[in-house]
Structures are given as C-alpha cells and as structure tokens.
C-alpha cells in the first residue's frame, strides 16, 4: 500500500491542484472575512481558473497514466480541461455585478469550482469507477449551485427537478455499467475495449451500453432525457446556467467520446442506430419546442437541446474527422452560448424578468449587448462567417464522408437549422426593429464587457480563421479512434 502511494507522480494533477488551491483560499478568506466586507470569492475563483488555464495551455502536463490507467492524461483530457477552465473564467468574469448583492455567492462560487474540478477529473477517467465518482462530483455540485438562490423558490424547484431526473439517469447509467462489468470482466476502459474487440459482444455488455446511453443522454440534455433543461435554465441562477449549459454539456460529450468512440467502437452496431434516433429526436423536439416560447431562457434551453442533436451527428460518424468536428463545435458553442447567456444575465437583472418582449429596442439601449446577442443567435443558427457555420458544416461533412447512409441525418439537420433560424430571428427582430418599451441605457460593467468581447472574438475568429483550431482538434482526435 505504501508503494502504491509513493509511486504516484502527483504533478499529473497540477491544473486541478491550482484550482483546488484557489478554492481552499476562497473558503479560508470567506471564513476570516469581517462581517460587512465584500467577499472576494469571485476574484479568487477567476484567478484560480485563469492560472490553471494558462498553466495548462503554456506548459501542458505530459501524457501519463496512473493506477493501472484509472486516471489518464492525454490530448483529449488536456483539450477539455482547457475548455472547462475557459468556461469557468468567462462565466465568473461576467457575473461579478450579478453576484455583488447575493449573500450566497461564496457557496455558489465554491460549487462552480468544485464542479469544474470534477469535470477535469472526469475527462481523465480511464476506469468506470473513477468515471462514476467524478461524474457525480460534477452533478451533485451543480444540483446545489442550481438551488442556491435562496431568495427565489423557483431556484429550489429547479434544483430538485434537476436532481431527481439526474439521479434517475445516474441509476440507469450505473446499472448499465454493472452489466458491462459482468460482460467484460473488468471496470478498466482499456480491458473493456480488449474484451469487446471487434466481435458482436457479450449480450450483457450490449444491454449495459443501451442503459448507459440513457445516462449520457441526460448529461447532454438529449431527447427523451431533456425535460430538466428548460426548468433548470429558467429557474437556476443565471451564472450557473451559463456555465452548465456549455461546460456540463461538453463534459457529457467528452465521456461519450471516451466511452463510445474510444472504448466501445466494437459495439458500434448497437449504439450508432440508437444515437441516430436520439439525434433526430433531439434536433426536432428542440427546434420546434423553441418556437412558441415567450421566455428567453426557455427558448435558449430548447435551442441548446437542438444544438446537442447536431453535435451527436459527429459522434455517430465516429471517425477522427467526426470527433474533431465535435471538439471544434463544442469550443464554438462555448463562446456562442456564453455570449447569449451573459446578455440574458445583464438584461434580466435590469428588466426584472426574462420575457422576450423585454428585449425590444435593445440595440438602442445597449449596442454592445445587442451585437453580442445577435452574433450569438446567428452563430447558433449557423450563419457565415461565424464559428457556428464552420462548426455545423464540418459536423455535416464528417457524417457524409463516412457513408451516404448518413445523408438523411444531414438533410434533417440542415432543414431544422432553417427552422431554428425562425425563432432566432424573432429575438433579433425584437432587439433591432421594435422600439424600446422603457427608456434608458442598460449599463454593462467593465468585467462583463471583457467577457462579452472575448466571446465575440471567439465566435468571429473560429468563423473566419478556423484552420488553426481545426488542426488542433484533428491532432487531439486522431489517436483516439481506430485502436
């Protein structure tokens, strides 16, 4: 046992360690802070996430494998860790002013940080046990974050609904894991890959994969496991929604890539048809259910459900190109959806409600907010020259490349993109054509301005010069596929 501990090279956990250290400092400072003094927890969380992000990008942790592969560092893990930290940094930066008056911001920032640490461990999990534990670390801290707005009962209702649906799908997920364990004789992903091989697979493992798809479907809010999303997006505190809508969804796709494409490629005859059905249902329900919405958050919730459907097309393709398209789209989606939610954060706080009608004349009241929100909606709809266009094109192209049998999936996706353009344009019409209902400018704080400009830059750069990022995602996806 002693040797077991001594052999571990803890520097593998450097980036997680930086963030954890920041969380420790945050707890300590909040504990000794005199009453009435403002809490610096937001600044500490921002500093921790930016430091960990810079460390991870400038001096990447080399490839490693700990505890017989139960925890691994590889290109995929490094890519997703940077993505989660970027989401955390931008969401924290944008919500300084929102959190200023909240008594619960210390706990809230802590939960967001803990959830990010969980996501970073999750993408490095190489064993079903470590995968399950880190997935629950992510989920439970997000349940708490969703329900922390003690001043609003709706926040607790959203939290409970999130938790009940989440716990239900966790149960399906681990029940499926138990069958995979029985069928393959191990919980290690490498051993499972070897046991599945290329053959038809043990019937127990097949049953397990089907059950596990349900658990994964919940994380990415795919139909029919999407019912929690509109309620949580509407009722939860906006910074948590902004963060979870990009980071938690990316985490779901990260384990999908690792489990399905990386480990269970031999069972693709089982999960590809199921994912195809899931993708079509998700795109269709998301696009059509968004049309009648009058609440901007519910509209964005259904839009993000539809977006998950598009990303699933890349997983279905299952090739290095498909996976790299998923990675690229998730990065674009991070900038896009954060820009949308930061705008919602500021406008809702000012207007006191989330009605789409409150966005009337936003272009006159705050040109920057209106511009950021418009670019985000156009990028979500897939209009050139924004990142969303390149991302969708690349996703569709990767599916067409695999086989013409996936052509119908691409046709459905492209058609529903046009449907979704309808409700995105409705919001843009409110902002740019309708006259403002209330006079007066909407102030945007300096921190939120920086976050919005980062998001705009991200959307435009990935749209006009996508090659650099695309090369990076291909380098990340290459070694995963085709073992």
């Amino acid at each position: 046992m002693n040797g077991f501990m001594q052999a571990v090279d803890w520097s593998v956990f450097r980036d997680e360690g930086i963030l954890l250290a920041a969380l420790g400092v945050m707890l300590a400072v909040d504990l000794v802070r005199p009453r009435g003094r403002p809490s610096p927890s937001g600044w500490i969380l921002l500093a921790g996430s930016v430091l960990a992000l810079l460390a991870g990008v400038l001096r990447p942790v080399p490839d490693a494998s700990l505890w017989d592969g139960a925890y691994v560092v590889d290109a995929l893990a490094r890519y997703f860790k940077a993505l989660f930290l970027l989401a955390l940094a931008l969401a924290t930066l944008a919500s300084f002013r929102y959190m200023q008056a909240k008594a619960w911001r210390g706990e809230f920032n802590l939960m967001l940080g803990v959830s990010t640490v969980g996501m970073m461990l999750l993408v490095g999990a190489g064993d079903l046990v470590s995968l399950f534990v880190s997935l629950e670390l992510v989920s439970i801290s997000l349940y708490v974050a969703a329900s922390l707005a003690r001043d609003e009962v709706t926040s607790q209702e959203a939290g409970l609904k999130y938790l009940l649906v989440g716990a239900f799908s966790t149960a399906l997920f681990i029940f499926g894991m138990s069958f995979v364990y029985a069928g393959c004789g191990s919980t290690s992903l490498a051993a499972i890959r070897a046991a599945i091989g290329t053959g038809p697979g043990h019937p127990l493992a097949v049953a397990g994969v089907v059950l596990m798809l349900a658990g994964l479907g919940f994380k990415i809010a795919a139909v029919p496991f999407h019912m929690w999303a509109p309620d949580v997006y509407q009722g939860g505190p906006t910074p948590m929604v902004a963060f979870a809508s990009v980071a938690s969804k990316a985490a779901g796709f990260a384990i999908m890539i690792r489990l399905l494409v990386g480990t269970m490629a031999g069972l693709s005859g089982v999960w590809i048809p199921l994912l195809c059905v899931m993708a079509v249902a998700t795109m269709t329900v998301g696009s059509f259910a968004a049309i009648p919405q009058t609440n901007i958050r519910r509209l964005l919730a259904y839009s993000s459900i539809a977006q998950a459907g598009y990303v699933l097309i890349g997983i279905v393709a299952g090739t290095p190109r498909g996976v790299s398209a998923v990675l690229f789209y998730l990065l674009v989606y991070l900038f896009t959806n954060l820009a949308a939610f930061i705008s919602v954060l500021i406008v809702s706080r000012h207007a006191g409600n989330d009605e789409i009608a409150s966005y009337a004349g936003l272009a006159q009241r705050s040109p920057l907010l209106a511009l950021a929100f418009m670019l985000a909606l156009l990028s979500l709809a897939g209009i050139p020259p924004l990142g969303g266009f390149v991302g969708k094109l690349y996703l569709f192209a990767s599916a067409m490349e695999v086989s013409t049998r996936l052509l119908w999936l691409v046709v459905v996706g492209a058609t529903l993109s046009i449907v979704s353009l309808f409700y995105y344009l409705m919001v843009i019409r409110q902002m740019y054509i309708e006259a403002p209902r209330e006079p007066g400018a909407i102030p945007v704080g300096p921190a939120a301005t920086i976050a919005l400009l980062c998001c705009i830059a991200g959307m435009v750069v990935t749209g006009i010069w996508p090659n650099g990022v695309l090369d990076l995602t291909i380098a990340v996806a290459g070694p995963l596929v085709g073992h």
Binding site: T154, Q156, F168, A171, A182, G185, T187
Partner: protein, 103 residues
C-alpha cells in the same frame, strides 16, 4: 453453487420496481426512495458479479459498490435538504404542486 443469473434477475426486478416508483409516484420522498432502490439494484449487481462473473477483477466491483453507497448518501442528503426547503415555502412535498416553472 449460486447462479449469477438468479442474482441478476433479482437485481433487475428491484430496479424495475424502482423505475416504476420513480415514474408513477407523486410524492418527492417516495420518488427519492424509488431512486435509492434503483441504485441498490446496481450495488447488488456489482457485488454478485464480482464474485461470479468477473473473478479476475473482483476488487473493482466491490470498490464500485462501496462508492455507489457513498455517492447515493450524498445525493440523498442534497435531495432531502431541497425537499425540506420547498416544504417550508409551499407546505407540501408533492411534485405536482411544484409547478412554478412551466413543465
């Protein structure tokens, strides 16, 4: 000699009861209990499979069972705290009364 199949059948029946309860019950506590049943079915599976189906890596199945029990406790604590907070505000713990957000 116990058969691995009989354990798997019992676990699946328990899991099925849990699924039914989670979908059909309207009281928050009853739904939480039903979800606990589902998690316990998975624990039963891991323990019996570790002995009978995967003797090569028996430890990891048993470790998994312990982790599921621990995580289920953490989840139940958060769930019960939320039910308590909602009960205090709304004087009910029935899920169909928690309808401030459009379903």
């Amino acid at each position: 000699m116990m058969d691995v199949r009989s354990f798997a059948v019992i676990a699946t029946v328990v899991f099925g009861i849990g699924v039914y309860g989670a979908l059909a019950r309207r009281h928050a506590i009853a739904v939480i209990i039903a979800i606990e049943l589902m998690l316990n079915a998975a624990v039963l599976n891991f323990v019996s499979f570790s002995r009978l189906a995967a003797p090569g890596s028996a430890v990891s199945g048993q470790v998994f069972a312990v982790f599921i029990i621990t995580v289920a406790a953490a989840e139940a604590i958060v769930a019960l705290a939320l039910v308590l907070a909602l009960h205090r505000a709304l004087k009910t713990a029935r899920l169909d009364r928690f309808n401030m957000l459009k379903w």
